[in-house]
């Protein structure tokens, strides 16, 4: 059953540029959906429209069957966690959490119980009297999360909540948020530009570029089967090679790959782990650099026309710069006119 229903939403800013272009999405009850894309892809604007901080130019947003498109943020059943956590520095932790409940004229005893329960949930039991400025970055972000959760919103909105934290803390909070979200079964929309975050947390990922949806799928599908060259290039590492198809063969420089599609231009996509390299006397490429990561190695190759390819190899010590090599793609996908036309 879909809790959040976004239909054909478009947002045009005054300059005329479309930040979000006829975007549609259904989010099921208890689902965590990640909006993933580079900066300027419109993912934050979309989230802010769900929260009520921006008005769509056209289209509609429905929560639990109620059209909220023109409701102001204070009248929507959404709770937002901001990138800069946006805690009110003139209030202590307890007051930050209690503020929304007080506006709802809840009795003081009930407020106290609720706030303490939520602080406990985010692992900050006993921190109520602290001023927000005395907390570490991770703790501040937990308070911001608690502040949204305490009002029991139908939909939780997270706008790059971990962007200001360091790598280590980010990974820990990621797991915590996912745990809390699953325990409460709260429907969540999560904006990020980090693919690790999206791949590790989301039930489904929406990949966005230039205000449009590129692909909506489970994380593993998005990784294994990117539907557009943009997704192929954005998620994980990928060799994208532009070339021509003639008589069932894709050609670029000395590289030829069998590809059963009609003749014409095409973009070939090969993951580095799907590109095998062997030493050869009739080389199609030359080794530019070998990097040893311990568990595996990465070989940078140049085709004769200078096109750079990456290959993941188990034994990097077998290769050296300047060496001539032959390449064998194992799994490939091909794109034409922004559509996938072939996949092995």
């Amino acid at each position: 059953m879909s809790v959040l229903h976004i239909a054909e939403v478009t947002k045009t800013f005054s300059a005329g540029a479309k930040a979000v272009d006829s975007f549609s999405l259904d989010v099921a009850d208890g689902e965590l959906v990640c909006l993933l894309g580079p900066s300027g892809s419109g993912k934050s604007t979309l989230l802010r429209m769900v929260g009520g901080f921006e008005q769509p130019t056209s289209g509609s947003i429905t929560i639990d069957g109620e059209d909220v498109t023109h409701l102001p943020p204070e009248r929507r059943p959404t709770g937002m966690v901001f990138q800069s956590h946006a805690l009110w520095t003139h209030m202590n932790v307890f007051k930050n959490l209690a503020f929304g409940l007080k506006l709802r004229r809840m009795p003081a005893a009930e407020i106290r119980d609720k706030v303490e329960a939520v602080l406990d949930l985010v692992g900050l039991a006993g921190y109520g009297d602290r001023m927000t400025t005395q907390l570490s970055g991770g703790q501040q972000q937990r308070v911001a999360l608690a502040r949204s959760l305490v009002l029991e919103p139908k939909i939780l909105l997270l706008d790059e909540p971990f962007a200001s934290l360091d790598q280590h803390l980010r990974e820990r909070l990621r797991e915590e948020v996912r745990d809390i979200q699953q325990r409460l079964g709260i429907t969540t929309l999560f904006v990020t530009h980090g693919q690790d975050e999206a791949l590790s947390m989301a039930d489904r990922i929406v990949v966005m570029a230039n205000g449009k949806t590129e692909q909506i799928d489970r994380p593993d599908v998005v990784y294994r089967d990117p539907k557009t060259p943009f997704v192929a290039g954005f998620i994980g590492s990928m060799n994208l090679i532009d070339g021509e198809v003639r008589n069932g063969y894709f050609m670029r420089s000395d590289l030829t790959v069998q590809l059963q599609v009609p003749d014409g231009p095409a973009t070939l996509a090969i993951r580095p782990e799907s590109l095998d390299v062997t030493a050869s006397d009739t080389p199609k490429a030359s080794v530019h650099r070998v990097t040893d990561y311990g568990s595996h190695g990465l070989v940078d190759l140049d085709l004769a026309d200078g096109t750079r390819l990456k290959s993941m190899v188990a034994h990097p010590d077998l290769f050296r710069a300047g060496q001539g090599v032959d390449v064998f793609p194992r799994a490939i996908a091909a794109y034409r006119d922004n559509q996938q036309i072939y996949r092995s």
Binding site: G51, G52, F53, P72, P73, E74, R75, T78, G79, M80, F82, Q83, S84, A86, L87, W88, T89, H90, F99, G100, L103, R104, A144, R147, S148, L151
Partner: protein
Amino acid sequence: MSEATKQAVRPLVDTAESRRPIGLLFVAIPVFLVIWLVIWPAINAISRTVWRKDKSGEMGFDLSSYAFFFSDSYSLDNLSITLWTTLVCAILLLMICLPIALYLRFSRGRLAAYVQALAIFPMFVPSIILAFAFIRVLGPNGMVDILFNAVDLPKIRTPYLTPWGPVIGLVWDNIPLTVLILLAGLGSVANQSIEAARDVGANAVQVFWHIILPRISNSILVALSFSVLGIFSSFTLPYLLGPASPEMLGPFMQRTLREVQDPVGAMTQAVIAFGFCIVFGLFYVRSVARSREK
């Protein structure tokens, strides 16, 4: 925000060079001027009004000029009209400038730019031109009278030469800096912290009361201090627009010094003005020093 301001809030850069007194040479003349023409006159005014020659010509501790001021009904009337004007101006300034500053903080576009330009405009109008314009508009047979007459309304009771004359002029004159200071304070309220409040259900009034007001209370006090310091001893506008009696402390001091030729009396009045403003002065200095040291 310009580059200059970003840096301005930083402390003075500590250079790697060791402390060299040569810098003192560079700053010597301005510092000397401040000591000679700001700090010394203030001390001098206090000391000369409490430590002076009595009738027999001997120097001694003597508060008679203060005793006179506080027993003379004319002086007291002048003091109370000054306090009244300052208070009314402060209230009016806040009532006018806070809504304008709030509007400017949360609006973009040409209309907002126009409103901002107009609000800052009086800064570039010397008070002497303001006084002249005031008389031509609100004075007897001024523009307001002309327009009222044209639509068959009765003449207004002109505020010219009444206590309301200086009030209107001083409020007009002080709008720009009050708006600018409030706007600077509002700039420190992050958009996201307001959005977070709306997200948990606060309407515009609740956002203002619970989120914005606590954050800008210091700026409000700075703005008020600054206008109080200016208004309490203002001269030009009360002199030209206000009633001849009772008069505000500014014109009163000027008359005592230059026409009555009673320097001790004038200095006594000045010291009393210092006394009434000392709280605002100290608060103002403290705030500015703090914002610089941040």
